[in-house]
């Protein structure tokens, strides 16, 4: 499967690249469902690998679908982007049945809507618990207890409030998530 074959099959709106040694087609959101049909029926990529979403903050949510041809032993990634305010994307679960579970996961963890999906029930979370893979979701466990490493050698918990100089911050946690003393 050459880049030209993929470009010819998916039409002029798709931009084809191979950033990681595998073909990637970036599509406008309107072509998403049609491209999945083309990938299955024209390019004969019959095997569904995965579908997931990436939170790009202001630039919306990127949705990635990877499909594979067992016969040709080659794969293709389809990518599109939906808006940050109302991330909604046509479901491809009627094209690749296996995508149904992955779309449920993306709906639950990232809050992306998939119209056309037969049942987008949450897999794991309680209703109303937000979308934990969104980057603006605070980590509740980090807000509940203060960071034990904020103390300097020779300090105790009671010394922390009295200190005026700059505080140490833990790695990998934004200041917004931290418990304010």
């Amino acid at each position: 499967m050459s880049p030209d074959e993929v470009a010819a099959a998916l039409g002029p709106t798709a931009s084809i690249s191979a950033p990681y040694g595998e073909l990637v087609a970036d599509l406008p959101i309107a072509d998403w469902h049609g491209a999945a049909l083309t990938a299955r029926d024209v390019l004969e990529l019959h095997f569904f690998d995965f579908l997931t979403g990436v939170d790009l903050r202001d630039q919306g949510f990127q949705v990635v679908l990877r499909v594979w041809s067992v016969a040709a032993r080659s794969g293709l990634q389809l990518r599109t982007r939906c808006s940050a305010d109302s991330p909604v994307l046509a479901s491809v679960s009627d094209v690749y049945a296996g995508a149904g579970w992955h779309e449920r996961q993306a709906a639950e963890l990232l809050g992306i809507g998939f119209p056309g999906h037969p049942g987008l029930e949450p897999l794991l979370l309680e209703p109303g618990s937000g979308h934990p893979l969104r980057k603006d979701t605070g980590l509740a466990a980090r807000a509940a207890i203060p960071w034990p490493g904020a103390k300097e050698p020779g300090e105790s918990d009671r010394d922390l409030g009295a200190r005026s100089r700059r505080k140490n911050l833990p790695l990998g946690v934004t200041a917004r998530d931290l418990k304010q003393p």
Binding site: I145, P148, K151, S156, N168
Partner: protein, 134 residues
């Protein structure tokens, strides 16, 4: 419970503390990804070493606790300790019915220390194995 007869001696069962080696540098508490290591300390003045010396300060450990209800047994605290105050011990039988009972304070961590196996011959923590040297 000590199960070292049935387990490899280097099993990651619990973490022992050798208080004498701890300088309260806070590295383990800062590196812990689970935030399960709690250290409190205070400063004690020491007299100058000589007539022209300056007064010195020593850090004294007040509290050292590991919350094993949060610990994921990654061993980063043991790896990062520059003074070899923390050790793996194979014991694992410290189940509890309350989360709070899984927070082991310094006295209990010291007891685990005596179950820690001696270092393997030639495998001092400051020396790297020959195969590991570049």
């Amino acid at each position: 419970m000590n199960a070292s007869g049935e387990l490899p001696v280097r099993s990651r069962g619990t973490i022992g503390l050798l208080e004498e080696n701890c300088t309260v540098c806070m590295l383990c508490a800062r590196e812990c990804p689970d935030w399960c290591l709690h250290i409190d300390s205070h400063k004690e003045p020491l007299p100058p070493l000589g007539p022209r010396g300056r007064p010195r300060v020593r850090h004294v450990l007040d509290r050292f606790a590991i919350d094993f209800s949060l610990c994921m047994y990654c061993g980063i605290c043991i790896e990062v300790c520059p003074f070899d105050a923390l050790f793996w011990a194979p014991d694992f039988g410290y189940e509890a019915t309350q989360h709070a009972d899984l927070t082991h304070e310094r006295g209990r961590l010291r007891e685990w220390m005596w179950a820690a196996p001696p270092p393997a011959p030639g495998a001092g923590s400051t020396e790297r194995a020959a195969s590991d040297q570049r």
